[in-house]
Symmetry: C2
Subunit: 324 residues, 2 copies
Amino acid sequence: MRQAGRYLPEYRQIRAKHDFLTMCKTPELASEVTVQPIDIIKTDAAILFSDILVIPEAMGMRLDVIESKGPVFDVPIRSLEQIENLQTDGLIERLDYVMQAVKMTKEKLNNRIPLIGFSGSPWTLAAYMVEGQGSKNFDVIKSFVYNESAAAHRLLQILADSVVEYLNAKIRHGCDAVQIFDTWASILSPHDFEEYSLKYIRYICEHLETNGAPVIVFAKGVSSYKNLADLKCDVLGVDWARNIGDVRREIGGVKALQGNLDPTVLFAPKEKIREETERVLRSYGKNAGHIFNLGHGITPKTPVENTQYFVECVKELSAKYHED
Amino acid sequence: MRQAGRYLPEYRQIRAKHDFLTMCKTPELASEVTVQPIDIIKTDAAILFSDILVIPEAMGMRLDVIESKGPVFDVPIRSLEQIENLQTDGLIERLDYVMQAVKMTKEKLNNRIPLIGFSGSPWTLAAYMVEGQGSKNFDVIKSFVYNESAAAHRLLQILADSVVEYLNAKIRHGCDAVQIFDTWASILSPHDFEEYSLKYIRYICEHLETNGAPVIVFAKGVSSYKNLADLKCDVLGVDWARNIGDVRREIGGVKALQGNLDPTVLFAPKEKIREETERVLRSYGKNAGHIFNLGHGITPKTPVENTQYFVECVKELSAKYHED
Protein backbone atom coordinates (compact mmCIF):
# COMPACT_ATOMS: atom_id res chain seq x y z
CA MET A 1 0.00 0.00 0.00
CA ARG A 2 2.91 2.30 0.33
CA GLN A 3 3.55 2.90 -3.31
CA ALA A 4 1.30 4.48 -5.87
CA GLY A 5 -2.10 5.76 -5.03
CA ARG A 6 -4.04 2.65 -4.12
CA TYR A 7 -6.40 4.82 -2.08
CA LEU A 8 -7.15 6.97 -5.15
CA PRO A 9 -10.40 6.53 -7.13
CA GLU A 10 -8.25 6.95 -10.27
CA TYR A 11 -6.22 3.90 -9.22
CA ARG A 12 -9.26 1.84 -8.35
CA GLN A 13 -10.76 2.49 -11.79
CA ILE A 14 -7.76 0.83 -13.41
CA ARG A 15 -7.55 -1.88 -10.76
CA ALA A 16 -11.19 -2.82 -11.37
CA LYS A 17 -10.22 -3.93 -14.88
CA HIS A 18 -6.98 -5.80 -14.10
CA ASP A 19 -5.80 -8.08 -11.33
CA PHE A 20 -2.97 -6.92 -9.14
CA LEU A 21 -0.17 -9.04 -10.62
CA THR A 22 -1.22 -8.12 -14.17
CA MET A 23 -0.82 -4.48 -13.20
CA CYS A 24 2.67 -5.17 -11.84
CA LYS A 25 3.59 -7.06 -15.02
CA THR A 26 2.23 -4.55 -17.53
CA PRO A 27 4.64 -1.61 -17.81
CA GLU A 28 1.99 0.66 -19.34
CA LEU A 29 -0.32 0.13 -16.34
CA ALA A 30 2.41 0.10 -13.68
CA SER A 31 3.87 3.36 -14.96
CA GLU A 32 0.43 4.96 -15.24
CA VAL A 33 -0.50 4.28 -11.60
CA THR A 34 3.01 5.26 -10.47
CA VAL A 35 2.59 8.78 -11.79
CA GLN A 36 -1.08 9.17 -10.80
CA PRO A 37 -0.47 10.47 -7.29
CA ILE A 38 2.12 12.99 -8.41
CA ASP A 39 -0.41 15.35 -9.95
CA ILE A 40 -3.12 14.63 -7.43
CA ILE A 41 -1.14 14.63 -4.19
CA LYS A 42 1.90 16.62 -5.36
CA THR A 43 4.58 14.55 -3.63
CA ASP A 44 8.14 15.37 -4.61
CA ALA A 45 9.17 11.81 -5.47
CA ALA A 46 7.48 8.88 -7.17
CA ILE A 47 7.77 5.28 -6.05
CA LEU A 48 7.43 2.60 -8.68
CA PHE A 49 4.22 0.56 -8.52
CA SER A 50 5.25 -3.04 -7.96
CA ASP A 51 5.35 -5.70 -5.25
CA ILE A 52 8.23 -7.10 -3.23
CA LEU A 53 7.12 -10.64 -4.11
CA VAL A 54 7.86 -10.34 -7.83
CA ILE A 55 11.34 -11.72 -6.99
CA PRO A 56 10.20 -15.09 -5.58
CA GLU A 57 7.54 -15.26 -8.31
CA ALA A 58 10.27 -14.84 -10.93
CA MET A 59 12.19 -17.62 -9.16
CA GLY A 60 9.36 -19.98 -10.01
CA MET A 61 7.07 -19.74 -6.96
CA ARG A 62 3.43 -19.53 -7.97
CA LEU A 63 1.93 -16.41 -6.36
CA ASP A 64 -1.70 -15.45 -5.91
CA VAL A 65 -2.68 -12.06 -4.59
CA ILE A 66 -6.04 -12.56 -2.90
CA GLU A 67 -7.65 -9.24 -2.07
CA SER A 68 -8.97 -10.24 1.37
CA LYS A 69 -6.00 -12.33 2.38
CA GLY A 70 -2.95 -10.75 0.80
CA PRO A 71 -0.30 -12.64 -1.15
CA VAL A 72 -0.28 -16.45 -0.99
CA PHE A 73 2.34 -18.87 -2.30
CA ASP A 74 0.82 -22.23 -3.31
CA VAL A 75 3.89 -24.20 -2.30
CA PRO A 76 5.90 -22.51 0.45
CA ILE A 77 9.62 -23.18 0.88
CA ARG A 78 10.29 -25.77 3.56
CA SER A 79 13.45 -27.59 2.43
CA LEU A 80 16.97 -27.08 1.14
CA GLU A 81 15.99 -28.96 -2.01
CA GLN A 82 13.29 -26.40 -2.80
CA ILE A 83 15.79 -23.63 -2.16
CA GLU A 84 18.33 -25.14 -4.55
CA ASN A 85 15.58 -25.44 -7.16
CA LEU A 86 14.76 -21.73 -7.09
CA GLN A 87 15.40 -20.37 -10.57
CA THR A 88 18.00 -17.65 -10.14
CA ASP A 89 19.53 -17.84 -13.63
CA GLY A 90 17.92 -15.32 -15.91
CA LEU A 91 16.08 -13.72 -13.01
CA ILE A 92 16.50 -10.16 -14.22
CA GLU A 93 15.39 -11.15 -17.73
CA ARG A 94 12.17 -12.56 -16.26
CA LEU A 95 11.77 -9.32 -14.33
CA ASP A 96 12.25 -7.25 -17.47
CA TYR A 97 8.66 -6.01 -17.10
CA VAL A 98 9.81 -4.10 -14.01
CA MET A 99 12.68 -2.53 -15.94
CA GLN A 100 10.33 -1.53 -18.76
CA ALA A 101 8.00 0.01 -16.16
CA VAL A 102 10.95 2.00 -14.80
CA LYS A 103 11.81 3.29 -18.29
CA MET A 104 8.21 4.14 -19.11
CA THR A 105 7.70 5.88 -15.76
CA LYS A 106 10.85 7.95 -16.26
CA GLU A 107 9.48 9.06 -19.65
CA LYS A 108 6.14 10.00 -18.11
CA LEU A 109 7.82 11.86 -15.25
CA ASN A 110 9.99 13.72 -17.75
CA ASN A 111 12.49 14.73 -15.04
CA ARG A 112 9.88 16.55 -12.98
CA ILE A 113 10.68 14.52 -9.85
CA PRO A 114 12.90 11.53 -9.01
CA LEU A 115 11.75 7.90 -9.14
CA ILE A 116 12.36 5.49 -6.25
CA GLY A 117 12.63 1.74 -6.86
CA PHE A 118 12.38 -0.76 -4.05
CA SER A 119 12.94 -4.31 -2.95
CA GLY A 120 12.04 -6.38 0.09
CA SER A 121 14.95 -7.36 2.31
CA PRO A 122 16.08 -10.99 2.19
CA TRP A 123 14.56 -11.64 5.63
CA THR A 124 11.18 -10.20 4.70
CA LEU A 125 11.13 -12.07 1.38
CA ALA A 126 12.16 -15.30 3.11
CA ALA A 127 9.42 -14.84 5.73
CA TYR A 128 6.78 -14.72 2.97
CA MET A 129 8.35 -17.56 0.98
CA VAL A 130 8.55 -19.91 3.99
CA GLU A 131 5.30 -18.95 5.72
CA GLY A 132 3.55 -18.97 2.33
CA GLN A 133 1.44 -15.99 3.38
CA GLY A 134 1.15 -13.36 6.08
CA SER A 135 1.37 -14.69 9.62
CA LYS A 136 0.45 -13.75 13.16
CA ASN A 137 3.31 -15.35 15.06
CA PHE A 138 5.73 -16.19 12.25
CA ASP A 139 6.38 -19.52 13.93
CA VAL A 140 6.92 -21.29 10.60
CA ILE A 141 9.75 -19.08 9.36
CA LYS A 142 11.29 -18.94 12.82
CA SER A 143 11.13 -22.71 13.28
CA PHE A 144 12.75 -22.96 9.87
CA VAL A 145 15.67 -20.64 10.63
CA TYR A 146 16.24 -22.22 14.06
CA ASN A 147 15.95 -25.85 12.94
CA GLU A 148 17.29 -25.61 9.39
CA SER A 149 19.83 -22.91 9.95
CA ALA A 150 22.11 -23.79 7.05
CA ALA A 151 19.22 -23.96 4.59
CA ALA A 152 17.86 -20.67 5.90
CA HIS A 153 21.20 -18.93 5.45
CA ARG A 154 21.45 -20.39 1.95
CA LEU A 155 18.02 -18.95 1.11
CA LEU A 156 18.91 -15.57 2.60
CA GLN A 157 22.17 -15.43 0.63
CA ILE A 158 20.42 -16.35 -2.63
CA LEU A 159 17.91 -13.59 -1.95
CA ALA A 160 20.63 -11.08 -1.05
CA ASP A 161 22.42 -11.74 -4.35
CA SER A 162 19.14 -11.47 -6.23
CA VAL A 163 18.22 -8.20 -4.56
CA VAL A 164 21.63 -6.77 -5.50
CA GLU A 165 21.07 -7.75 -9.14
CA TYR A 166 17.51 -6.49 -9.08
CA LEU A 167 18.25 -3.08 -7.56
CA ASN A 168 21.33 -2.62 -9.75
CA ALA A 169 19.13 -3.27 -12.80
CA LYS A 170 16.54 -0.79 -11.53
CA ILE A 171 19.25 1.84 -11.12
CA ARG A 172 20.63 1.10 -14.61
CA HIS A 173 17.17 1.50 -16.08
CA GLY A 174 16.65 4.88 -14.48
CA CYS A 175 15.66 4.72 -10.81
CA ASP A 176 17.09 7.75 -9.03
CA ALA A 177 17.09 6.10 -5.59
CA VAL A 178 16.42 2.64 -4.20
CA GLN A 179 14.81 1.53 -0.97
CA ILE A 180 15.14 -1.79 0.87
CA PHE A 181 12.06 -2.62 2.96
CA ASP A 182 12.50 -4.90 5.94
CA THR A 183 8.84 -5.02 6.88
CA TRP A 184 9.32 -7.94 9.26
CA ALA A 185 12.42 -6.68 11.09
CA SER A 186 10.26 -6.17 14.15
CA ILE A 187 9.50 -9.85 14.70
CA LEU A 188 13.14 -10.69 15.43
CA SER A 189 14.96 -10.27 18.71
CA PRO A 190 17.94 -7.89 18.45
CA HIS A 191 20.37 -10.80 18.17
CA ASP A 192 18.36 -12.67 15.54
CA PHE A 193 17.79 -9.45 13.59
CA GLU A 194 21.55 -9.07 13.29
CA GLU A 195 22.03 -12.70 12.21
CA TYR A 196 19.08 -13.24 9.87
CA SER A 197 18.35 -9.81 8.51
CA LEU A 198 20.87 -7.04 9.04
CA LYS A 199 23.80 -9.14 7.85
CA TYR A 200 22.14 -9.56 4.45
CA ILE A 201 21.04 -5.94 4.20
CA ARG A 202 24.66 -5.01 4.90
CA TYR A 203 25.78 -7.35 2.12
CA ILE A 204 23.35 -5.75 -0.32
CA CYS A 205 24.44 -2.22 0.57
CA GLU A 206 28.07 -3.20 0.03
CA HIS A 207 27.43 -4.80 -3.34
CA LEU A 208 25.14 -2.27 -4.97
CA GLU A 209 26.45 -0.35 -7.96
CA THR A 210 24.55 2.77 -7.11
CA ASN A 211 26.13 5.10 -9.61
CA GLY A 212 25.34 7.85 -7.13
CA ALA A 213 21.73 6.85 -6.45
CA PRO A 214 20.91 7.18 -2.74
CA VAL A 215 20.09 3.97 -0.88
CA ILE A 216 17.33 3.99 1.75
CA VAL A 217 17.01 1.21 4.34
CA PHE A 218 13.71 0.89 6.18
CA ALA A 219 13.69 -1.73 8.94
CA LYS A 220 10.22 -1.44 10.42
CA GLY A 221 9.86 -1.68 14.17
CA VAL A 222 13.54 -2.18 14.85
CA SER A 223 14.24 -1.30 18.47
CA SER A 224 17.69 0.20 17.99
CA TYR A 225 19.10 2.21 15.11
CA LYS A 226 22.66 2.11 16.37
CA ASN A 227 23.41 -1.07 14.45
CA LEU A 228 22.08 0.43 11.25
CA ALA A 229 24.26 3.52 11.49
CA ASP A 230 27.28 1.93 9.82
CA LEU A 231 25.41 0.50 6.83
CA LYS A 232 26.72 1.65 3.47
CA CYS A 233 23.51 3.50 2.76
CA ASP A 234 22.41 7.12 2.74
CA VAL A 235 19.06 7.18 4.46
CA LEU A 236 17.33 5.24 7.21
CA GLY A 237 13.55 5.01 7.27
CA VAL A 238 11.92 5.49 10.69
CA ASP A 239 8.49 4.11 11.53
CA TRP A 240 5.98 6.17 13.50
CA ALA A 241 6.46 4.34 16.80
CA ARG A 242 9.74 6.15 17.37
CA ASN A 243 10.50 9.75 18.13
CA ILE A 244 12.53 10.73 15.05
CA GLY A 245 14.62 13.22 17.06
CA ASP A 246 15.63 10.41 19.44
CA VAL A 247 16.69 8.30 16.47
CA ARG A 248 18.71 11.20 15.08
CA ARG A 249 20.55 11.52 18.40
CA GLU A 250 20.92 7.74 18.72
CA ILE A 251 22.86 7.48 15.46
CA GLY A 252 24.71 10.75 15.95
CA GLY A 253 23.29 12.21 12.77
CA VAL A 254 25.41 10.04 10.45
CA LYS A 255 22.50 9.25 8.11
CA ALA A 256 19.61 11.19 6.68
CA LEU A 257 16.30 10.03 8.15
CA GLN A 258 13.02 9.43 6.33
CA GLY A 259 9.77 9.54 8.26
CA ASN A 260 7.72 9.33 10.32
CA LEU A 261 4.11 10.51 10.58
CA ASP A 262 1.63 7.84 11.75
CA PRO A 263 -0.32 7.06 8.52
CA THR A 264 -3.61 6.92 10.42
CA VAL A 265 -3.21 10.60 11.34
CA LEU A 266 -4.47 11.18 7.78
CA PHE A 267 -7.90 10.10 9.07
CA ALA A 268 -7.84 12.96 11.60
CA PRO A 269 -9.28 16.48 11.31
CA LYS A 270 -7.04 19.00 9.55
CA GLU A 271 -5.84 20.62 12.78
CA LYS A 272 -4.51 17.28 14.02
CA ILE A 273 -2.81 16.55 10.67
CA ARG A 274 -1.10 19.93 10.82
CA GLU A 275 -0.18 19.57 14.49
CA GLU A 276 1.31 16.09 14.07
CA THR A 277 3.20 17.11 10.92
CA GLU A 278 4.76 19.98 12.84
CA ARG A 279 5.49 17.64 15.78
CA VAL A 280 7.58 15.40 13.50
CA LEU A 281 9.42 18.38 11.99
CA ARG A 282 10.12 19.84 15.45
CA SER A 283 11.26 16.46 16.75
CA TYR A 284 13.80 16.11 13.95
CA GLY A 285 14.85 19.74 14.35
CA LYS A 286 16.82 22.09 12.17
CA ASN A 287 19.42 21.33 9.53
CA ALA A 288 19.52 19.07 6.54
CA GLY A 289 18.98 15.35 6.51
CA HIS A 290 15.26 14.93 7.01
CA ILE A 291 13.05 13.46 4.28
CA PHE A 292 9.47 13.87 5.39
CA ASN A 293 7.40 10.76 4.90
CA LEU A 294 4.74 8.66 6.53
CA GLY A 295 6.06 6.19 9.08
CA HIS A 296 4.69 3.32 7.01
CA GLY A 297 2.48 2.66 3.98
CA ILE A 298 -0.63 4.72 3.46
CA THR A 299 -3.81 2.99 4.69
CA PRO A 300 -6.35 1.97 1.99
CA LYS A 301 -9.32 4.13 3.03
CA THR A 302 -7.32 7.32 3.61
CA PRO A 303 -9.32 10.36 2.43
CA VAL A 304 -7.63 11.90 -0.63
CA GLU A 305 -8.20 15.49 0.48
CA ASN A 306 -6.48 14.80 3.79
CA THR A 307 -3.47 13.41 1.96
CA GLN A 308 -3.37 16.52 -0.21
CA TYR A 309 -3.61 18.72 2.86
CA PHE A 310 -0.83 16.75 4.56
CA VAL A 311 1.55 17.35 1.63
CA GLU A 312 0.69 21.06 1.69
CA CYS A 313 1.44 21.15 5.42
CA VAL A 314 4.82 19.49 4.93
CA LYS A 315 5.79 21.95 2.22
CA GLU A 316 4.65 24.98 4.21
CA LEU A 317 5.81 24.01 7.69
CA SER A 318 9.16 22.52 6.77
CA ALA A 319 10.51 25.79 5.37
CA LYS A 320 11.52 27.12 8.77
CA TYR A 321 13.39 23.92 9.61
CA HIS A 322 15.56 24.08 6.51
CA GLU A 323 19.22 24.72 7.05
CA ASP A 324 20.14 28.38 6.96
CA MET B 1 -2.48 -17.39 24.53
CA ARG B 2 -0.30 -16.08 27.27
CA GLN B 3 -2.17 -17.53 30.19
CA ALA B 4 -2.83 -21.16 31.01
CA GLY B 5 -1.57 -23.94 28.85
CA ARG B 6 -3.51 -23.53 25.63
CA TYR B 7 -0.73 -25.41 23.85
CA LEU B 8 -1.17 -28.40 26.23
CA PRO B 9 -3.07 -31.53 25.15
CA GLU B 10 -4.60 -31.52 28.65
CA TYR B 11 -6.05 -28.06 27.94
CA ARG B 12 -7.31 -29.00 24.50
CA GLN B 13 -9.19 -31.97 25.91
CA ILE B 14 -11.22 -29.66 28.11
CA ARG B 15 -11.53 -27.02 25.41
CA ALA B 16 -12.96 -29.61 23.01
CA LYS B 17 -15.99 -29.93 25.28
CA HIS B 18 -16.61 -26.25 26.09
CA ASP B 19 -16.45 -23.03 24.14
CA PHE B 20 -13.90 -20.45 25.14
CA LEU B 21 -16.24 -18.01 26.91
CA THR B 22 -17.93 -20.82 28.81
CA MET B 23 -14.51 -21.82 30.12
CA CYS B 24 -13.84 -18.23 31.24
CA LYS B 25 -17.24 -18.10 32.94
CA THR B 26 -17.08 -21.44 34.72
CA PRO B 27 -14.83 -21.13 37.79
CA GLU B 28 -14.32 -24.89 38.00
CA LEU B 29 -12.99 -25.03 34.45
CA ALA B 30 -11.05 -21.76 34.57
CA SER B 31 -9.29 -22.79 37.77
CA GLU B 32 -8.55 -26.25 36.41
CA VAL B 33 -6.80 -24.99 33.28
CA THR B 34 -5.02 -22.30 35.30
CA VAL B 35 -3.24 -24.88 37.43
CA GLN B 36 -2.63 -27.39 34.61
CA PRO B 37 0.69 -25.96 33.42
CA ILE B 38 2.09 -25.71 36.94
CA ASP B 39 2.64 -29.42 37.30
CA ILE B 40 3.50 -30.00 33.67
CA ILE B 41 5.78 -27.04 32.99
CA LYS B 42 6.79 -26.21 36.55
CA THR B 43 6.57 -22.44 36.30
CA ASP B 44 6.87 -20.56 39.57
CA ALA B 45 3.73 -18.48 39.18
CA ALA B 46 0.25 -19.16 37.80
CA ILE B 47 -1.72 -16.72 35.68
CA LEU B 48 -5.49 -16.89 35.86
CA PHE B 49 -7.21 -18.29 32.78
CA SER B 50 -9.47 -15.53 31.48
CA ASP B 51 -9.75 -13.00 28.68
CA ILE B 52 -9.25 -9.25 28.68
CA LEU B 53 -12.60 -8.81 26.91
CA VAL B 54 -14.73 -10.06 29.82
CA ILE B 55 -14.90 -6.40 30.94
CA PRO B 56 -16.65 -5.04 27.81
CA GLU B 57 -18.78 -8.20 27.70
CA ALA B 58 -19.92 -7.51 31.27
CA MET B 59 -20.70 -3.94 30.17
CA GLY B 60 -23.29 -5.36 27.80
CA MET B 61 -21.34 -5.81 24.54
CA ARG B 62 -22.15 -9.13 22.90
CA LEU B 63 -18.88 -11.01 22.32
CA ASP B 64 -18.19 -14.02 20.12
CA VAL B 65 -14.85 -15.74 20.18
CA ILE B 66 -14.43 -17.29 16.74
CA GLU B 67 -11.51 -19.71 16.67
CA SER B 68 -10.17 -18.68 13.26
CA LYS B 69 -10.85 -14.99 13.62
CA GLY B 70 -10.42 -14.16 17.29
CA PRO B 71 -12.86 -12.13 19.36
CA VAL B 72 -15.64 -10.23 17.58
CA PHE B 73 -18.09 -7.71 18.99
CA ASP B 74 -21.43 -7.72 17.13
CA VAL B 75 -21.99 -4.01 17.61
CA PRO B 76 -18.76 -2.06 17.98
CA ILE B 77 -18.66 1.27 19.82
CA ARG B 78 -18.84 4.21 17.45
CA SER B 79 -20.66 6.97 19.36
CA LEU B 80 -20.79 8.80 22.68
CA GLU B 81 -24.34 7.53 23.13
CA GLN B 82 -23.15 3.93 23.02
CA ILE B 83 -20.41 4.78 25.51
CA GLU B 84 -22.89 6.34 27.92
CA ASN B 85 -25.04 3.22 27.62
CA LEU B 86 -22.26 0.86 28.72
CA GLN B 87 -23.42 -0.85 31.89
CA THR B 88 -20.85 0.02 34.52
CA ASP B 89 -23.12 -0.30 37.56
CA GLY B 90 -22.83 -3.74 39.07
CA LEU B 91 -19.90 -4.59 36.82
CA ILE B 92 -17.95 -6.50 39.44
CA GLU B 93 -21.06 -8.45 40.42
CA ARG B 94 -21.47 -9.55 36.80
CA LEU B 95 -17.80 -10.53 36.81
CA ASP B 96 -18.21 -12.56 39.98
CA TYR B 97 -17.35 -15.69 37.99
CA VAL B 98 -13.81 -14.32 37.69
CA MET B 99 -13.62 -13.78 41.44
CA GLN B 100 -14.89 -17.28 42.08
CA ALA B 101 -12.25 -18.61 39.68
CA VAL B 102 -9.60 -16.71 41.64
CA LYS B 103 -10.80 -18.24 44.91
CA MET B 104 -11.00 -21.73 43.48
CA THR B 105 -7.56 -21.44 41.88
CA LYS B 106 -6.05 -20.26 45.15
CA GLU B 107 -7.51 -23.34 46.84
CA LYS B 108 -6.09 -25.63 44.16
CA LEU B 109 -2.69 -23.94 44.33
CA ASN B 110 -2.70 -24.30 48.10
CA ASN B 111 0.02 -21.67 48.52
CA ARG B 112 2.51 -23.56 46.38
CA ILE B 113 3.06 -20.59 44.05
CA PRO B 114 1.54 -17.13 43.63
CA LEU B 115 -1.39 -16.34 41.33
CA ILE B 116 -1.30 -13.45 38.89
CA GLY B 117 -4.50 -11.74 37.76
CA PHE B 118 -4.61 -9.47 34.73
CA SER B 119 -6.54 -6.87 32.82
CA GLY B 120 -6.23 -5.21 29.44
CA SER B 121 -5.27 -1.55 29.51
CA PRO B 122 -8.00 0.98 28.70
CA TRP B 123 -6.41 1.70 25.30
CA THR B 124 -6.22 -1.98 24.33
CA LEU B 125 -9.78 -2.62 25.50
CA ALA B 126 -11.02 0.47 23.65
CA ALA B 127 -9.21 -0.63 20.48
CA TYR B 128 -11.14 -3.93 20.49
CA MET B 129 -14.44 -2.30 21.46
CA VAL B 130 -14.27 0.32 18.69
CA GLU B 131 -12.70 -1.82 15.94
CA GLY B 132 -15.06 -4.65 16.90
CA GLN B 133 -12.32 -7.19 16.22
CA GLY B 134 -8.61 -7.46 15.54
CA SER B 135 -7.31 -5.05 12.91
CA LYS B 136 -4.38 -4.59 10.57
CA ASN B 137 -4.12 -0.81 10.54
CA PHE B 138 -6.36 0.15 13.46
CA ASP B 139 -7.73 2.97 11.34
CA VAL B 140 -11.20 2.72 12.94
CA ILE B 141 -10.07 3.25 16.54
CA LYS B 142 -7.58 5.89 15.48
CA SER B 143 -10.14 7.77 13.38
CA PHE B 144 -12.40 7.60 16.41
CA VAL B 145 -9.90 9.05 18.88
CA TYR B 146 -8.83 11.75 16.42
CA ASN B 147 -12.32 12.75 15.30
CA GLU B 148 -14.33 12.07 18.47
CA SER B 149 -11.68 12.96 20.97
CA ALA B 150 -14.03 13.81 23.86
CA ALA B 151 -16.00 10.58 23.42
CA ALA B 152 -12.77 8.58 23.21
CA HIS B 153 -11.46 10.08 26.43
CA ARG B 154 -14.81 9.39 28.09
CA LEU B 155 -14.57 5.73 27.04
CA LEU B 156 -10.95 5.47 28.21
CA GLN B 157 -11.84 6.98 31.60
CA ILE B 158 -14.79 4.62 32.07
CA LEU B 159 -12.49 1.73 31.26
CA ALA B 160 -9.77 3.00 33.60
CA ASP B 161 -12.24 3.18 36.49
CA SER B 162 -13.55 -0.28 35.64
CA VAL B 163 -10.06 -1.76 35.49
CA VAL B 164 -9.29 -0.29 38.91
CA GLU B 165 -12.44 -1.88 40.35
CA TYR B 166 -11.76 -5.15 38.57
CA LEU B 167 -8.13 -5.52 39.66
CA ASN B 168 -8.93 -4.40 43.20
CA ALA B 169 -11.58 -7.13 43.36
CA LYS B 170 -9.11 -9.69 42.04
CA ILE B 171 -6.61 -8.71 44.72
CA ARG B 172 -9.31 -8.86 47.40
CA HIS B 173 -10.26 -12.35 46.23
CA GLY B 174 -6.72 -13.61 46.44
CA CYS B 175 -4.54 -12.62 43.47
CA ASP B 176 -0.97 -12.18 44.67
CA ALA B 177 0.00 -9.85 41.81
CA VAL B 178 -1.79 -8.09 38.96
CA GLN B 179 -0.68 -7.33 35.45
CA ILE B 180 -1.97 -4.69 33.04
CA PHE B 181 -1.52 -5.67 29.38
CA ASP B 182 -1.28 -2.92 26.80
CA THR B 183 -1.08 -5.21 23.80
CA TRP B 184 -1.72 -2.38 21.33
CA ALA B 185 0.69 0.18 22.79
CA SER B 186 2.88 -0.31 19.73
CA ILE B 187 0.36 1.09 17.25
CA LEU B 188 0.51 4.57 18.78
CA SER B 189 3.12 7.22 18.13
CA PRO B 190 5.01 8.23 21.29
CA HIS B 191 2.86 11.34 21.71
CA ASP B 192 -0.44 9.51 21.20
CA PHE B 193 0.68 6.68 23.48
CA GLU B 194 1.10 9.23 26.25
CA GLU B 195 -2.29 10.80 25.59
CA TYR B 196 -4.48 7.77 24.90
CA SER B 197 -2.82 4.99 26.81
CA LEU B 198 -0.16 5.82 29.36
CA LYS B 199 -2.26 8.51 31.03
CA TYR B 200 -4.91 5.91 31.87
CA ILE B 201 -2.43 3.24 32.94
CA ARG B 202 -0.97 5.86 35.28
CA TYR B 203 -4.44 6.56 36.65
CA ILE B 204 -5.02 2.86 37.30
CA CYS B 205 -1.66 2.43 39.05
CA GLU B 206 -2.44 5.40 41.28
CA HIS B 207 -5.89 4.15 42.22
CA LEU B 208 -5.23 0.48 42.90
CA GLU B 209 -5.60 -0.77 46.44
CA THR B 210 -2.84 -3.31 46.10
CA ASN B 211 -2.57 -4.35 49.72
CA GLY B 212 1.05 -5.13 48.91
CA ALA B 213 0.43 -7.08 45.69
CA PRO B 214 3.00 -6.18 43.03
CA VAL B 215 1.70 -4.45 39.91
CA ILE B 216 3.17 -5.37 36.51
CA VAL B 217 2.71 -3.13 33.46
CA PHE B 218 3.38 -4.64 30.04
CA ALA B 219 3.18 -2.16 27.16
CA LYS B 220 4.05 -4.26 24.14
CA GLY B 221 6.26 -2.72 21.49
CA VAL B 222 6.63 0.61 23.23
CA SER B 223 9.71 2.35 21.84
CA SER B 224 10.83 4.03 25.05
CA TYR B 225 10.60 2.85 28.65
CA LYS B 226 11.67 6.16 30.12
CA ASN B 227 8.09 7.38 30.36
CA LEU B 228 7.03 4.21 32.15
CA ALA B 229 9.72 4.50 34.82
CA ASP B 230 7.71 6.80 37.07
CA LEU B 231 4.53 4.71 37.06
CA LYS B 232 3.34 3.64 40.49
CA CYS B 233 4.00 -0.01 39.69
CA ASP B 234 6.63 -2.55 40.62
CA VAL B 235 7.50 -4.34 37.40
CA LEU B 236 7.66 -3.49 33.71
CA GLY B 237 7.19 -6.20 31.12
CA VAL B 238 9.62 -6.13 28.19
CA ASP B 239 8.81 -7.70 24.83
CA TRP B 240 11.42 -9.67 22.92
CA ALA B 241 12.21 -6.97 20.38
CA ARG B 242 14.24 -5.08 22.97
CA ASN B 243 17.53 -5.86 24.62
CA ILE B 244 16.47 -6.17 28.27
CA GLY B 245 19.82 -4.86 29.50
CA ASP B 246 19.33 -1.70 27.44
CA VAL B 247 15.89 -1.24 29.00
CA ARG B 248 17.38 -1.71 32.47
CA ARG B 249 19.92 1.02 31.76
CA GLU B 250 17.30 3.25 30.11
CA ILE B 251 15.17 3.36 33.24
CA GLY B 252 18.13 3.44 35.61
CA GLY B 253 17.05 0.23 37.30
CA VAL B 254 14.10 1.82 39.14
CA LYS B 255 11.72 -1.07 38.34
CA ALA B 256 12.02 -4.83 38.20
CA LEU B 257 11.80 -6.11 34.63
CA GLN B 258 9.88 -9.12 33.36
CA GLY B 259 10.94 -10.76 30.12
CA ASN B 260 11.93 -11.29 27.42
CA LEU B 261 12.67 -14.46 25.45
CA ASP B 262 11.19 -14.56 21.94
CA PRO B 263 8.34 -17.11 22.31
CA THR B 264 9.16 -18.68 18.95
CA VAL B 265 12.59 -19.71 20.29
CA LEU B 266 10.61 -22.54 21.92
CA PHE B 267 10.33 -24.03 18.42
CA ALA B 268 14.14 -24.22 18.20
CA PRO B 269 16.49 -27.10 19.04
CA LYS B 270 17.45 -27.39 22.69
CA GLU B 271 20.88 -25.78 22.20
CA LYS B 272 19.28 -22.65 20.80
CA ILE B 273 16.71 -22.52 23.63
CA ARG B 274 19.51 -22.75 26.17
CA GLU B 275 21.70 -20.23 24.35
CA GLU B 276 18.92 -17.65 24.01
CA THR B 277 17.82 -18.11 27.63
CA GLU B 278 21.36 -17.43 28.75
CA ARG B 279 21.56 -14.45 26.38
CA VAL B 280 18.57 -12.83 28.11
CA LEU B 281 20.03 -13.53 31.57
CA ARG B 282 23.41 -12.12 30.57
CA SER B 283 21.80 -9.09 28.98
CA TYR B 284 19.94 -8.25 32.19
CA GLY B 285 23.03 -9.00 34.25
CA LYS B 286 23.55 -9.61 37.93
CA ASN B 287 21.50 -8.45 40.90
CA ALA B 288 17.87 -8.68 41.78
CA GLY B 289 15.00 -7.33 39.78
CA HIS B 290 14.68 -9.73 36.87
CA ILE B 291 11.61 -11.94 36.45
CA PHE B 292 12.34 -14.33 33.63
CA ASN B 293 9.47 -14.66 31.18
CA LEU B 294 8.70 -14.94 27.52
CA GLY B 295 8.61 -11.62 25.70
CA HIS B 296 4.96 -12.24 24.79
CA GLY B 297 2.32 -14.97 24.93
CA ILE B 298 3.27 -18.54 24.15
CA THR B 299 2.47 -19.57 20.57
CA PRO B 300 -0.27 -22.22 20.12
CA LYS B 301 1.78 -25.00 18.50
CA THR B 302 4.74 -24.76 20.89
CA PRO B 303 6.11 -28.25 21.70
CA VAL B 304 5.45 -29.05 25.36
CA GLU B 305 8.83 -30.69 25.92
CA ASN B 306 10.60 -27.56 24.69
CA THR B 307 8.62 -25.46 27.14
CA GLN B 308 9.60 -27.83 29.94
CA TYR B 309 13.23 -27.68 28.90
CA PHE B 310 13.09 -23.87 28.77
CA VAL B 311 11.84 -23.67 32.38
CA GLU B 312 14.61 -26.05 33.45
CA CYS B 313 17.18 -23.84 31.70
CA VAL B 314 15.88 -20.71 33.42
CA LYS B 315 16.08 -22.37 36.84
CA GLU B 316 19.55 -23.76 36.23
CA LEU B 317 21.17 -20.86 34.41
CA SER B 318 19.73 -18.03 36.47
CA ALA B 319 21.40 -19.18 39.68
CA LYS B 320 24.69 -17.52 38.87
CA TYR B 321 22.98 -14.21 38.10
CA HIS B 322 21.27 -14.04 41.47
CA GLU B 323 22.40 -11.33 43.81
CA ASP B 324 25.22 -12.37 46.13
